[in-house]
């Protein structure tokens, strides 16, 4: 089952689709209003895109510097070529520190690497602490949005979940009350955790520091309490200097939700200070992960996707995403950016995703770092066709179409014959021949003459 089928299932629920579309459009509208507050909006996008483009040419130098500075500040830096190596490193750290309970804040990278199932298989309890992530974790499903993981769910469904999992009264669906219950439950888990795992929004080469942003403060609680902090960072997340953070942080929250900034923008450089209670000294570990990023970097057509700061704006604006839901994509990251990233990870599995797009271009215009998303999706289509990932019959059909369209005589005969037949067939038959087009749409009535014929006729009449 691919995007087409899952999207059809989603759309079949008209009410839910309307709600999903409208709530995300509302987020897009808040983003528009936030962009309106900065006259320098487009210049900021230029600057952010410029920094990222510069960074892509200097990654080895920047990461070496980061490693040097972070190590000097007391952090330990690890390198992981792929998801398996990443998971192994994290597990090894937890094992040697005798950790059984971990609190994790939202990180699309650990999601991509499948860290949770890996750790759980080794008997370690991993609790996702972002409320939305916690909800989908309890439902044993994937996030459907990169910053609003549970946006596919209605409050009633979350109420039912909490009733089952946390014993709330049946029918309780008030967001305030449900959040309060989750807060109590998670506070106990924060206090009990022996390690905190976070993602990284930006790493800074010059200072060896990194930035994590949240609204809930869950990354902060998860690193302020336990003595072990493991931060997992994708290779693309680095900027040269702390001053470079300004344009990105000015764009990020505004693009994501329309807020002027996230509630917590935390800058980490060293293990947290010791609270002096005689335990082992706190530790900070940074795991730098490739997992296909260097491969993407080597692809001139797609490398700009590495500039992505995961704001989610392209999802919110995407008319397809809003009406098909995040799960329809079947990839870690859904929406336009997900459809660009996924085929590079697994072309056979995700060959369909670049076609889950009407090429409207809204994503490219909304993107704060100017990733040319819809052009990349178009390019993917031909790359995937050339590498044998398109059905043979489909390709044959287009070869025939190309023949007709490049031969004036053939075009003329084929279209005359086509219209002659179409005008004589009962409309019931035509609708059947129309296939998916006519499932929801009436065929246009077929004119007796083409433009060229009509023109010729007219010019005969009045020469």
């Amino acid at each position: 089952m691919g995007h087409v089928d899952r999207a059809r299932d989603f759309v079949a629920n008209t009410e839910r689709t309307t709600w999903h579309d409208e709530v995300l459009w509302f987020v897009r509208a808040k983003r528009d209003a936030a962009a309106d507050t900065l006259p320098e909006w487009e210049a900021l996008r230029d600057e952010a895109a410029g920094i990222k483009r510069d960074v892509l040419g200097r990654l080895p130098e920047l990461w070496r510097r980061f490693e040097q500075e972070a190590t000097a500040a007391g952090a330990t830096v690890h390198w992981a070529r792929d998801a398996a190596e990443h998971n192994r490193i994290v597990h090894e750290l937890l094992r040697t520190h005798d950790v059984k309970r971990v609190v994790k804040s939202k990180s699309m990278l650990t999601e991509e690497c499948g860290l949770n199932p890996h750790l759980e298989a080794q008997g370690i309890e991993v609790v996702d602490t972002d409320l939305g992530e916690r909800i989908v974790q309890l439902r044993e499903e994937a996030p459907s949005h990169i910053i609003m993981p549970a946006i596919h769910l209605k409050r009633g469904e979350i109420g039912d979940l909490f009733h089952q999992e946390m014993g709330t009264p049946a029918g309780l669906d008030d967001p305030d009350e449900l959040t309060a219950v989750a807060r109590r439950d998670l506070r106990a888990r924060f206090l009990a955790a022996e390690a905190g795992i976070t993602g990284v929004n930006f790493a800074v080469a010059e200072t060896g520091s990194f930035v994590v942003v949240t609204n809930e403060g869950n990354a902060d609680l998860g690193t302020a309490l336990p003595r072990l902090h493991i931060a997992c960072v994708g290779l693309e997340k680095i900027v040269p200097t702390a001053n470079d953070l300004a344009p990105f942080l000015r764009l990020l929250a505004r693009s994501a939700t329309g807020q002027p900034i996230s509630t917590y923008t935390s800058h980490f450089r060293a293990p947290r200070a010791d609270d002096g209670n005689g335990g082992p000294p706190p530790e900070l570990h940074v795991v730098i992960v490739d997992n296909g990023r260097s491969r993407l970097l080597a692809e001139p057509a797609f490398r700009e996707a590495l500039a992505c700061i995961r704001c989610g704006a392209c999802l919110n604006t995407c008319p397809v995403y809003r009406r098909s839901g995040g799960h329809s994509y079947g990839s870690t990251v859904p929406g336009p950016i997900g459809s660009v990233l996924a085929p590079s990870q697994d072309p056979a599995r995700h060959a369909e995703l670049p076609h889950a797009c009407s090429l409207c271009g809204s994503c490219s215009d909304v993107c704060p770092v100017r990733v040319p998303l819809h052009h990349q999706l178009l390019t993917w289509r031909s790359h995937l066709a050339e590498s044998g990932h398109h059905p043979r019959r489909r390709r044959l059909a287009f070869r025939i179409a190309a023949r007709v369209l490049s031969n004036a005589g053939l075009y003329d005969r084929a279209t005359r014959a086509g219209r002659w037949i179409a005008r004589r067939l009962p409309s019931r038959w035509l609708d059947r021949l129309g296939g998916p087009w006519t499932r929801s749409r009436a065929l246009p009535s077929i004119p007796a003459e083409s433009f060229h014929q009509a023109l010729a006729a007219r010019e005969e009449e009045r020469p």
Partner: protein
């Protein structure tokens, strides 16, 4: 200035009057126009399907076949964008250069002296922004960007028509969901996108739905005819022809079998 009119295949076959309108408007504006024959396609359907090599062959034929002209005008934002945005990447300039491909309303408002003033068109009109005219050719300012405002030539030409009221939309430039092969392969989402656009126009009490792209209109018209109150669908060129070339132009030029004037 040597000018050719390009009437793309689906307009040629399904909405022939749109081609006639474009031709008559250009002539009325004083241009000596040659109608392209034997070059039915810009390559777009092939390109968006992922068949870039086939698209390149078709686009090359087009570029070669039109290089004698300074401009090729077409009543299609998406064909113009295919040739201008992707065609320039796919097909290198032939020796001696290539024609610039320009969408009709852009051409008319940049160069045009349409016989003016236009006559009345007392209808409420919903203008559907073609994504390719808007976000590829930058005819207008996409709602996502904070770039310096650019006027949409289609809207500007329609605003000059007395009695014509452009309806306000809640989402002024959301995609209609046509998207070429997308309309067929992702039929369910495409349909939902189109229905949502239609209800926005209907909320604005549009009596006529128009656009610079026939492809969007075929999709929306197909949906509108299956459900809801009737909505007349006309290409911008047809409205301009009716109001600039003498009321009754639409009827005079109605094509047998076509539902252009309904």
């Amino acid at each position: 200035m040597s000018i050719a009119l390009f009437v793309p295949c689906y307009v040629d076959q399904l909405k022939p009057r749109v081609g006639l309108a474009a031709l008559d408007l250009l002539r009325a504006a004083g241009f000596d126009v040659e109608v392209l024959d034997g070059l039915p396609c810009c390559g777009q359907p092939l390109l968006t399907a992922g068949e870039e090599r086939l698209a390149r062959d078709v686009a090359t034929r087009f570029v070669e076949g039109t290089r004698a002209f300074e401009s090729v005008v077409t009543p299609s934002g998406s064909c113009a964008s295919t040739l201008e945005i992707h065609g320039r990447r796919l097909v290198p300039d032939p020796p001696g250069g290539r024609a610039r491909v320009v969408e009709l309303t852009r051409f008319l408002s940049d160069n045009g002296a349409l016989p003016s003033p236009p006559t009345e068109f007392p209808r409420r009109v919903g203008l559907h922004a073609s994504c390719h005219a808007l976000r590829e050719l930058r005819q207008g300012t996409p709602s996502e960007t904070r770039e310096q405002a650019r006027t949409d030539p289609a809207a500007a030409l329609l605003r000059e028509i007395p009695g014509l009221e452009l309806v306000d939309l809640t989402r002024r430039d959301e995609c209609c969901g046509f998207g070429g092969v997308f309309a067929v392969e992702e039929e369910a989402v495409s349909t939902r996108m189109g229905l949502d656009r239609l209800s926005d126009h209907r909320r604005g009490r549009a009596e006529v739905l128009t656009s610079t792209d026939v492809s969007c209109l075929l999709h929306l018209e197909g949906l509108a005819r299956r459900e809801g109150p009737p909505l007349e669908v006309l290409h911008v060129a047809e409205i301009l022809a009716e109001t600039h070339l003498g009321a009754g132009w639409l009827e005079t030029n109605a094509i047998r079998g076509a539902d252009g004037s309904r």
